[in-house]
Amino acid sequence: MLLIEDKQIVVPGEILAEGDFHSGRGTFKDADKVCSSLVGLVAVRDKKISVIPLQSKYIPKRGDVVIGKISDIRFSMWNLDINSPYSGILPAAEVFGKEKRELNRAFDVGDVLFLRVVDVDEVKKVKLGLKGRGLGKFRGGILIHITPTKVPRLIGKKGSMINMIKDQTKCEVVVGQNGVVWVKGKPEMERIVQKVIKTIEEEAHTSGLTDRIKNMLFELLGEKTEKTEKTNKEEDFEEELIQ
């Protein structure tokens, strides 16, 4: 018996269902009851119940692509802040191979990188790598932070949301699974993207979001379309970095 509705907000300990149900993420089973273990929105898929937290911290997972900033340089590796309780390490061998070079010539403290999580071990030591298309150091642009659980919503179904933003604003947008978003384009466009992304974060749980964001983009861009149409031809920002 289901005791809650889909997309309802629940608190830890709240009984979500009794009887024949599976416990998904953010829930636990107590005898035949499924209970929530955090504050969030319920998602019911057939017999599986999960709770999507309203806010969360990023827990590294192998294969994720993340955006991190270099916080320290050690003898043979860089330490990175990946917006998570666990810090990441980037071994020098990942960048130079067998060659020996000075680390701070390649990346210095304060640089922002686009990386892949190569491995997470049992003590949550996060090993990062730069091998892959589009991975590397960012130059210019701005950073926007959102809650990691809202990342799927920002990307949309098969990238529908993010591609719409990219097309409309002619900005390069890179989303890390850890909730850090990098945007580069014309400064006024960067601001618009920032506004739009913050709206998506706030309204991630509502339905029909893509259409509303579309309207919002048209509204925000309305005043600037004339200007941008002229310059579009000169500077055509291509999306180089697609995750």
């Binding site: 900033k69 270099i70 916080s71 802040d81 210095d108 403290v109 304060g110 640089d111 922002v112 960012f138 130059r139 210019g140 642009g141 701005i142 950073l143 400064p187 960067e190 601001r191």
Partner: protein, 266 residues
């Protein structure tokens, strides 16, 4: 406070915006964030205030206590300011003994309140040389989003204006405290502080957290109601020119007038 590492690209984007006369949150260069001020929020303290500038939030409490004056100043009361950067206010605030930021904040606030003559310390004397009121001003930074100093002075002023001390009578050598009859603390002046940050060669008022992290230099100016200066503090590694200092005083005089409107009239 451990200095937070600011990505180079954030610094560049903040500087570029400011050089074009814009700011990341859409404010004008000399515009403050929204200010809110509540007084009397702590029942256990004789005076208290909560001040918010944008997302920066400080809770100020004033506790009077009877004590002995310092031997070199037997005829004035005592004012002690202390600040606490709570670890919940920012990821880079750590628990433990006060650090540079915390001490600087407490001292600058103390200077502005003391030299701005908010309190008539001479009126706090009960028995000269023996018994005086000591006022402990405690600043608790609950949320940090840049520009602590302006918020701290504004909050301190509000908390002191809100403070009531019990009346005292002297019987023989004994001091009798009458908790039934509380009197407001004598307030003389209302100084306020305005902080300006130099970023990319421009002066901006009320720096946000991002701006606080990337600023080249900052100057905090404490001003009395008549516009005279009572305190000043410069921070950051880059020097300020004479023109810049004079310009910042001008801006501060303008801005403190605005800030003054947020003080509740009693």
């Amino acid at each position: 406070m451990v200095q937070s590492i600011v990505p180079q690209i954030i610094k560049e984007s903040v500087v570029n915006l400011i050089q074009k006369g814009e700011r990341a949150d859409g404010r004008a260069l000399d515009q403050y964030r929204e200010i809110s001020l509540e007084t009397g929020i702590i029942k256990k303290a004789e005076g208290s205030a909560r001040v918010k500038i944008g997302k920066t939030q400080i809770v100020v409490g004033a506790k009077p206590q009877i004590g002995e004056p310092f031997p070199d100043t037997p005829n004035v009361g005592v004012l002690i300011t202390n600040s606490e950067l709570l670890p919940m206010a920012a990821p880079n605030f750590e628990a433990g003994p006060p650090n540079e930021t915390s001490v600087e904040l407490a001292r600058v606030t103390d200077r502005c309140i003391r030299e701005g003559e908010v309190l008539d310390l001479e009126k706090l004397v009960i028995i000269p040389g023996k018994k005086v009121w000591m006022i402990f001003l405690d600043l608790h930074i609950v949320d940090y989003d840049g520009n602590l100093m302006d918020a701290a002075v504004l909050g301190s002023l509000a908390a002191l204006s809100n403070t009531k001390i019990p009346s005292t009578t002297i019987e023989g050598d004994e001091v009798v405290i009458d908790y039934e009859k509380m009197v407001p603390i004598p307030i003389k002046e209302q100084p306020l502080m305005c902080t300006l940050a130099k970023i990319g060669g421009e002066l901006v008022a009320d720096p946000s957290l991002e701006e606080d992290d990337v600023l080249d230099a900052r100057i905090s100016i404490g001003l009395r109601v008549d516009g005279s200066i009572c305190a000043m503090q410069k921070g950051g590694s880059v020097p300020l020119t004479r023109e810049e200092i004079l310009k910042s005083i001008e801006i501060a005089q303008e801005k403190t007038k605005e800030l003054r409107k947020s003080i509740p009239k009693e």
